[in-house]
Symmetry: C2
């Protein structure tokens, strides 16, 4: 492997000139630059990252802290995996690479030192995903001057902000869709109350109900767990009601599918006797029969927006300006995907 010294020797210049030529400094004679560039390409020279990082005091590295200890194994990772892909692609395009730095110690994690990792690797910025609201280690990070974007987690700091799908608007769209089909008795199966997306989706449901001048019936609101089991159990309770809902908005696709199973087992036809809308847009939603109408989150756009936001934070020289920058992309639009699980109201 050729290093800068070798390249300098072969180009007949000093290493300083090589560095300047390759880094696009303007104070290099065009012919010199061309010659060096040509040679560099031919020899496939790339500046060593460690040397570069040391000299420039920055790494061109973005840390992604993907906390996998809180999520139930095998859950939620699908969406985050998708998201990571698009995040990485957007960051790559801006010349950054992604360092995956998830703490791996067992969970009573006093050793989690996100900020320490940032310093150790001279990270230019950090993305938090899958991190619990109560994770103790994030406080220090958010209070620091490190550029940081959290996904689906409310944090704000000097150079920290967050990004989330438009959960509220998504839930409202679901309710509106059902209303448009003639449904008036619309129930919801929510996520666990303490999670932000669950809260937001419920608020969206409630607000749209009131906008449509529909009553909010306590019996039509059951708490689920974002998993199939919770959807199943929630639907069972709704089916046992003296006056059943004609439509259900489940705040997650897994719950929606669980609800559909409960309906099927009770002999209630979907979409014939019951309309179901989910949320998330997981793969299963399009595979099942009948295919699930759902409010789809856009992992691609989410990741791209997160990258953009982070780059803006990094690029912003003044730490205090975080509130001034355009935060519009923090709310990622969602999309109602209409499939087969909703029919017109008959009752």
């Amino acid at each position: 492997m050729v290093d800068i010294r070798e390249l300098a020797r072969l180009s007949g210049v000093s290493i300083a000139t090589v560095s300047r030529a390759l880094n696009g400094r303007d104070n290099v004679r065009p012919e010199t630059r061309a010659r060096i560039q040509h040679l560099a390409q031919q020899l496939r020279y790339t500046a060593n990252a460690a040397g570069r990082a040391l000299a420039r005091q920055r790494s061109d590295l973005i840390g992604v802290i993907w906390e996998t200890r809180y999520a139930t194994p095998g859950r939620k990772h699908a969406f985050l995996g998708e998201l990571l892909v698009s995040l990485k692609e957007a960051l790559d395009e801006a010349g950054y690479h992604v360092l995956l730095v998830s703490p791996s110690q067992p969970l009573p994690a006093e050793g989690d030192d996100y900020l320490g990792i940032v310093r150790k690797y001279n990270l230019d910025g950090v993305v938090l995903m899958g991190v619990d609201e109560h994770a103790p280690a994030i406080g220090e990070l958010v209070e620091s001057t490190v550029a940081c974007v959290a996904l689906d987690l409310v944090v704000t700091g000097r150079r920290s902000t967050y990004i989330t799908s438009d959960n509220r608007a998504g839930a409202a769209a679901a309710v509106r869709h059902l209303h448009g089909l003639g449904h008036r008795r619309i129930a919801t199966i929510t996520g666990p109350r303490h999670l932000m997306p669950a809260k937001e989706r419920y608020i969206g449901y409630r607000e749209e109900l009131s906008r449509l001048r529909l009553p909010l019936r306590p019996a039509y609101v059951v708490e689920g767990d974002f998993f199939g089991e919770g959807g199943y159990a929630g639907m069972r309770r709704l089916l046992d009601l003296p006056q059943r809902p004609t439509a259900v908005f489940a705040a997650g696709d897994a719950m929606a599918i669980g609800a559909m199973r409960a309906a099927a087992m009770a002999g209630v036809a979907v979409p014939g006797e019951l309309a179901v809308v989910g949320f998330d847009g997981i793969e299963a939603a399009s595979l099942i029969y009948p295919a699930l109408t759902t409010v789809a989150q856009d992992a691609d756009r989410f990741g791209t927006a997160a990258a953009e936001l982070l780059l803006r934070l990094i690029g912003d020289p003044d730490a205090r300006q975080v509130h001034d920058i355009d935060l519009s992309p923090c709310i990622v639009p969602i999309r109602l995907v209409v499939r087969d699980s909703c029919g017109a109201a008959t009752t």
Copy 2:
């Protein structure tokens, strides 16, 4: 942030001693070491990664080349995402961090320089995932002396090997399960012929058939695409046969679910009139109704095994020894998950 010089000053020793003490060298007086360690912890000193990498000529970094340009967007990522999580956890435990280095240029990718990235970052090893067999850029990497493990992709080189689920045994287990239920007319919907997992699963199907002294009927072998659409189309063809199969082994869950939809739309009851087994163990398999019996790949174990294998390659001083080391974990065991989509044969 305190650096090694500061720490040395406060400890009253030279930076050389600090380095030795913290890196566990044996030639340090116990009291000196204790004092330094204590102070380091208190001041939360961590050696700067760039300085360390430069001096040691290694980075403690593993590159994960996650090729996302070949896969249809939104497909296959779920499993790889899961896998990445467990891979990363296993690597973390061994003291490595993961650098995500997926090439992001548009696909006619002459610029893909995996080896260049390895040199640039002094990567200690590389994992290839989602990479197409025909990707031009991997040849050079595999021929080099870089430790490299490919996932679900057959490569071998001086320090390169691959790891895959036991596709053959999985397919055989599926067929055996159906046979045990009394089925004798067992069809299969395969994946695209050119993909290794598709090939292997088909071989497993064929071999088990012959082991059970069941005929291989060409009409019972239809090629799919690993997606729901292919499963649907394949099932349609099987349903139109003069003598229908009583059971279908679909070489992927998405295809299996597509097949179930085709059956449902044709009024053929699953599991009553038709048994279906899938492969992969995606989330949807457990969510749908009836729940899908499937041959589940173990993402967790897959990732852990890949990490182990890579660490062994890295640790092996002699490049030629790659064929001598124990390669048993290269084949990750699979597991038949019996659910509701298979009943006893009636015809």
